[in-house]
């Protein structure tokens, strides 16, 4: 009995800061909704946040369809969150998940269309492998540059995000455009589509993402490589003296992170979107930052954070339709959650917490390597 209580207590000690940060973010976002309610057609309406959050909840959880939508939206966020969280473990901030997501989506769309008539097992496997490989290759570049030239991955990955989006727009216009359509897009993916397992849209990518959560957890906690990644993140000098070369670990971690980002694009492409066209949303890339921070870079934490943000994404359209509160309030809530996690003293003061600090330690070392060369 007391054992269960102790376990609950230790669980709460871990979760209280993220949970309270979410609560505080929702309160501030509610204030923004009230202030801006004058523009929503209802006129000034202090109760609008209740209706908006109610619709958000209904769109995310209130029916089987809503629940499936939440899980389908959460799956790429799990992979994207793992991508960023894995980088954090090694002291790397891979903001390039948005670009790796696009690269993975593109690669799986092209390979998927080419294998559209092949057996499902072959078509799906090959398309997903292509997605992972594309993401890994794209992320390896900033990883290698970081290790060998000191170019900070935050700037190089964001530049590569922009360049990737443009070059893929060119590729889909001039290289791999499927001729039967009126606008530039890739062909039908046919048998490469991820099989639907439940309801209308719950596809194979959801269990795949769940398995990946535990695979990454195993990698980080039970393998030599995972230990090396964590050591490089915690103290690169110690890692070097212990014979773990940061020069190898840094590019490798970036490539692994990119693999996860590419897979996120792959399951979104093969499970939801179905074809690549320029302008497909890469919002997963940025949502993943908040997911990784909220989940403290821990795979299980990322699982819960991804389901939360999946719920936000799944419920937001219903909220916008029924209450005309723009879906972009989700981005605002995200920024506020990161704000309250980073500045956790606000949360502590508001809720009078006395427990010792459990902030976003996983990410607090990111700034250290600004302009500094990795030595191996």
């Amino acid at each position: 009995m007391s054992g269960a209580r102790a376990r609950l207590g230790s669980w709460w000690r871990l979760a209280q800061l993220p949970v309270l940060a979410i609560v505080l973010a929702l309160v501030i976002a509610a204030a923004i909704i009230i202030v801006s309610s004058a523009f929503t057609g209802t006129g000034f309406f202090p109760l609008l946040p209740l209706f908006a959050y109610g619709a958000l909840f209904a769109g995310a959880f209130a029916s089987d369809i809503a629940l499936n939508n939440t899980l389908v939206a959460a799956a790429p966020l799990m992979l994207g969150g793992l991508a960023i969280g894995l980088g954090f473990k090694a002291g790397l901030f891979n903001i390039g998940v948005a670009g790796q997501f696009l690269a993975g989506a593109f690669a799986s769309a092209v390979v998927g269309a080419a294998l559209a008539q092949q057996p499902v097992a072959l078509a799906v496997t090959a398309s997903l492998l292509a997605a992972g490989a594309a993401g890994a290759a794209l992320a390896f570049i900033p990883g290698w540059l970081k290790a060998h030239t000191g170019a900070h991955e935050v700037v190089t990955t964001i530049m590569l995000n922009n360049a990737t989006a443009l070059l893929l727009a060119w590729a889909v216009t001039d290289l791999v455009r499927a001729p039967v359509f009126t606008f530039p897009r890739t062909g039908e993916i046919g048998n490469s589509a991820l099989p639907v397992l439940l309801g209308r849209n719950l596809h194979l990518g959801v269990p795949l993402a769940l398995i990946t959560i535990f695979a990454v957890r195993w990698l980080l906690e039970r393998t030599t490589l995972g230990f090396e990644i964590r050591t490089v993140g915690a103290n690169p000098n110690a890692a070097r003296y212990a014979g773990m070369p940061p020069l190898v670990i840094v590019p490798l971690t970036m490539a692994l992170s990119g693999l996860l980002g590419g897979l996120a694009g792959g399951i979104q492409m093969l499970g939801v979107i179905g074809f690549y066209a320029s302008g497909i949303s890469a919002s997963v890339g940025f949502d993943s930052i908040a997911v990784a921070l909220l989940g403290r870079s821990d795979p299980i934490g990322i699982l819960f954070a991804a389901i939360l943000f999946g719920a936000f994404r799944a419920g937001a359209p219903l909220m916008q339709i029924t209450t005309s509160v723009p879906i972009e309030i989700i981005d605002i809530i995200q920024a506020l959650i990161i704000l309250f996690l980073a500045a956790n003293l606000i949360v502590r003061r508001v809720f009078r917490l006395r427990a010792p600090g459990l902030g976003i330690e996983g990410a607090t070392t990111v700034t250290r390597t600004w302009g500094e060369q990795v030595r191996g």
Binding site: A151, V154, N162, E328, W370
Partner: protein, 326 residues
Amino acid sequence: MNLLFIPRLIAELAVYLATVVPDLLPIVLTLATPLALGALCGVLCERSGVVNIGIEGTMLTAAFMGYLTGFALHGSIGAAAAIAAGVVVAMLTGALLGLLHAWLCVTVRADQIIAGTILNVGALGLTAYFNRLIITPSGLGGAGVIPPIVFGLGPIALATLALVGLIHFLLFNSRWGLRTRAVGEHPKAADTVGIDVFRQRYQNVIAGCALAGLAGAYLTLESTGSFQNGMTGGRGFIALAAMIFGRWTPIGAFGGALLFGFFTALGVIVRVRPAGGELGDILAAIPSFWYAALPYLVTVVILAGVVGRAIPPAADGVPYEKEARA
């Protein structure tokens, strides 16, 4: 195949670029303006020891607030006054976000990259939210743009040229500049001789972000006259690369901004003033998407080539703790 065609093409390219300089220069300067202002923001912040990757978000929010002010006021107080008010509001918006960033980095000692990320994510959300609520449904335009004064350059572009020189001079020849560099290189020593490290960092970050706000005002009120979601398009990050390229000096950073402006302008000029002969065929055959991606790729290449040899201020990104044992 005769390989001599490569040096010949390069020579032709040089001649072509020389002939289009009169057309190219104003385009480069206008493209470099927001990058230079963003890079100045970076220099001010990082010289005092605060890393700011939130320049992008600061620019975007200020661009929106400036546009919104012009949009709301031009009916009642006239376009010129509304634009002027918009520029002021944009700079104040920047300063306010600078205050937030300084508070997070200096007082709270949060991770500075995360603090910048908050600005960037929040800016995308807030601007798109209010854009959808206020501007899009109205179907109305903004207050227009500030007309150019000389060489196609408007007042903000011209002011940027002056600001680059002024801040460079002050950074290396004034009490403020000395204090800024001291706080960024060795805050403990600066503290010992009575310089308020926290205050100096707050001042610099707020002033720098006001300049990033001016860059935002430039985008909506001097350059395009409209607001689109995410319209900064990575300029805040290119500005950081320009700052590193310029080794944390204002004039050097301006050089970096010109370089990136040049690579962006290339895609424009080959359409406006096509080259003749074989070179013209080649330049015209390159897809416009490649030209658009060029400045981003150049940023990566230059960063990779320069950064290892460019040394940031010693205390850059390190929060100062008065009680810390050094």
